[in-house]
């Protein structure tokens, strides 16, 4: 069983639990009211029940290891990589060759750990980048309470560009400040959104 299959199975199990919990909650709200008509608990019970049933079906399907219809990503890969069409998949040596960036042409959880992108980053490194970015976003949301919304996010932009993406410091700073300024112009000045200024109360 691959990581993707394990992940899918875990998701199905979690959803099944959520579904059952929703059914129990829904029953508590009252499925029917007097006169036999449906009550506030009907839709939660129905939707929760359906989630649970289909999650179990999906989990069973995954366990049986039944091959699903190929995902669009795989199909696009198949379509674009047919050699007779002279279109190759993204190749580091041939920038501009076919790649479908908006699709997951790599199935990430299954991806070969040795596979590198154009910056020579392995899947493992990219996973770490994702974890770092997630952590940074959480840190930023906490920082908003202290330094305010705009400053926290300008800082986030700068930190991601410099430390995660290894862009040069000066251009990164310019981009971050410019993005902050445009946001300030549109949201604070134009739309009059009172962005939180945090404990410092700067901007």
């Amino acid at each position: 069983m691959t990581a993707a299959q394990r992940g899918g199975l875990a998701a199905s199990v979690v959803l099944a639990v959520v579904g059952v919990a929703a059914v129990l909650g829904g029953l508590g709200y009252g499925v029917t009211v007097e006169g036999g008509e449906i009550g506030p608990g009907f839709l939660p019970t129905m939707a929760g029940g359906l989630v649970a049933v289909f999650a179990v079906l999906d989990a069973v399907g995954r366990l049986r290891n039944r091959r699903d219809a190929p995902s669009q990503a795989e199909l696009i890969t198949a379509t674009t990589s047919r050699p007779e069409d002279g279109v190759a998949l993204a190749d580091p040596a041939d920038p501009g060759a076919a790649t479908t960036s908006t699709q997951s042409i790599h199935s990430p959880l299954d991806a070969d750990a040795e596979e590198v992108d154009i910056f020579g980053r392995t899947q493992r490194q990219r996973n770490r980048m994702l974890a770092i970015v997630l952590g940074l976003v959480v840190a930023t949301l906490v920082m908003v309470q202290v330094v305010g919304f705009l400053l926290a996010f300008v800082l986030l932009l700068f930190v991601i560009a410099v430390f995660v993406e290894h862009r040069r410091v000066l251009p990164s700073a310019v981009v971050a400040v410019a993005a902050g300024a445009v946001t300030y112009g549109i949201f604070v000045l134009l739309l009059r959104v009172p962005l939180p200024t945090g404990l410092l109360g700067l901007i």
Partner: protein
């Protein structure tokens, strides 16, 4: 009809609406050509910006983003073989080959022209078809409306592809999320866990921004960087011969696109694959396909634009979105306090006809913009993703905050961003979830009313001929396109096989932008 058009023109031609239409199509082009940014993401991020506008102006702009993105997606397909939009995937096959042969200009020009012709044809059909359909739907009671919503959910699931149980699971999950908070008609707070913020339910815009914008960013970080752009561009000239060869494909593409686009859930990706497959079959220059045939660009580009417009037929006339982006647009209607559905044609004629006429204006703008300026837009592709995605994050969070001036929205965006990313990783379709969420409150209302009519029994669903017909229609539509796709492929032995399979998937994909 003439009255309506006059009304539409007088609404759409105000300086303000023209300006926002222009902003919409311009942003749409840019969003469409950015790999990793699609029309669904674009519309979701920008809904908060439109909250201060008049609903008609806001919708004109958001719709502009939607069809503008269809033009923009082409530019990347042709120049770097990277579709900016799922609907432009098939354009890479011949478009990129044309660019390699030094014919990028012709490829971009013919797709702009084809898109424009298709837009005008499909717009006329849309204006002609939607009002009578809405009229028909106006006679529907709760029972029939319930049947229609079941139809919508079932079809979106059917087109979401992959595993059927997974699609149904996500549709039910969407319905479940929609039950959070106090429902109309009931006084009980459901699943709020004591949170005041959840009393009014889980807000739609925040979920969309999280799923589509933040989720996409997280997904992109993980799949790695794109190849950088190295494309030389020549002038936008197109020969008379090329135009002549493209006329047939454009017209056929428009027809196929419209028919498929009208089916709720079928979407423009399916349309573009079908149009390419059919063109490859009927063309006298079969051998050229895949080697830079202009027909292979003209047909799918016309088809995806026609389908984008046709998507509005069920969206406006029935309140059932035709695709992922129209589902988000439908959510925008509710954000502006408009109840989507057939009644809109009666209660909001200014809005509906102003919006429809704006499509015409927007497409003219897009043609004028794209014919000479496609190379300029292509420069946008040089922005490194390392700068772009933090900016997308900033825009997403600040936009979400501005909806209700509440940090809770920001937290919701983050939570649904992680959910959206996980769904992408695990291949769970998003369109059914979105549709379940959008339709949830209406669905519950129809359920309550139906059960009241049937005194607690839902058998009334099977007593109305119309609702039985609609439910049968759902079954037919589920089977129909698959049969059609099979038919299209059987006679195209090689080359479109993948397209055949891909048609099962377009919806999920479209919503996944």
């Amino acid at each position: 009809m003439i009255d309506n058009l006059v009304l539409g023109f007088s609404t759409a031609f105000t300086p303000e609406n023209l300006l926002w239409c222009f902003i919409g199509v311009l942003l749409g082009t840019v969003i469409g050509l950015m790999p990793g940014l699609g029309s669904t993401t674009g519309v979701a991020i920008l809904i908060p910006l439109t909250l201060t506008l008049e609903p008609v102006t806001a919708l004109i702009m958001l719709a502009g983003i939607y069809y503008g993105a269809q033009y923009g997606g082409t530019i990347t397909s042709v120049l770097i073989s990277t579709p900016g939009e799922a609907a432009s995937v098939v354009t890479t096959l011949d478009g990129y080959q044309m660019a390699k042969n030094g014919k990028a200009g012709s490829a971009l020009a013919i797709s702009a022209i084809g898109s424009f012709v298709a837009a005008i044809i499909s717009l006329a059909l849309l204006m002609w078809l939607a009002p009578p359909l809405a009229d028909l739907a106006l006679n529907f009671g709760p029972v029939q409306n319930l049947a229609i919503m079941i139809l919508g959910l079932v079809i979106v699931v059917a087109f979401a592809g992959g595993s059927l149980s997974r699609g149904l699971m996500m549709a039910a999950a969407g319905l479940l999320i929609s039950t959070v908070g106090v429902a109309t008609g009931f006084s009980d707070a459901r699943f709020t866990f004591g949170s005041i913020n959840l009393l009014s339910g889980i807000p739609f815009v925040e979920v969309m921004i999280g799923l589509f914008a933040v989720g996409e960013v997280l997904h992109q970080i993980r799949i790695g960087a794109d190849a950088p752009i190295r494309t030389r561009f020549r002038d936008m000239v197109i020969s008379r011969g090329e135009l002549k060869r493209s006329a047939g494909p454009i017209l056929r593409g428009s027809g196929i696109g419209f028919v498929l686009g009208i089916l709720p859930g079928a979407g423009s990706t399916l349309a573009s694959f079908m149009a390419y497959g059919i063109e490859k079959r009927v063309s006298p220059r079969k051998a050229m396909f895949g080697k830079g045939a202009i027909e292979g660009v003209a047909a799918p580009e016309s088809a995806n634009n026609a389908a984008a417009n046709a998507n509005f037929v069920p969206t406006l006339a029935l309140g059932i979105p035709g695709g992922g982006t129209t589902a988000v647009l439908l959510g925008a209607f509710t954000v502006y306090g408009l109840q989507p559905g057939p009644r809109l044609f009666e209660t909001q004629p200014t809005l509906i006809w102003g919006l429809l006429v704006s499509f015409f204006i927007g497409n003219v703008m897009l043609l004028v913009l794209n014919l000479p300026l496609a190379p300029v837009f292509a420069q946008m592709l040089r922005i490194p993703y390392g700068y772009l995605y933090p900016i997308i994050l900033l825009t997403s969070f600040v936009g979400a905050y501005s909806v209700s001036n509440n940090m809770f929205s920001v937290v919701l965006v983050f939570v649904f961003g992680v959910v959206g990313w996980l769904m992408k990783e695990l291949d769970l379709p998003m369109a059914p979830l979105v549709l379940g969420l959008v339709l949830g409150p209406l669905f519950e209302k129809a359920l309550v009313q139906t059960s009241a009519i049937g005194q607690g029994s839902f058998l009334v669903l099977l007593q109305s001929p119309i609702s039985v017909g609609i439910l049968l229609f759902a079954v037919l539509l589920m089977a129909g396109p698959k049969i059609a796709a099979r038919f299209a492929v059987r006679r195209a032995p090689r080359g479109t096989v993948a397209a055949d399979d891909a048609v099962r998937q377009p919806e999920r994909d479209e919503a996944g932008r």
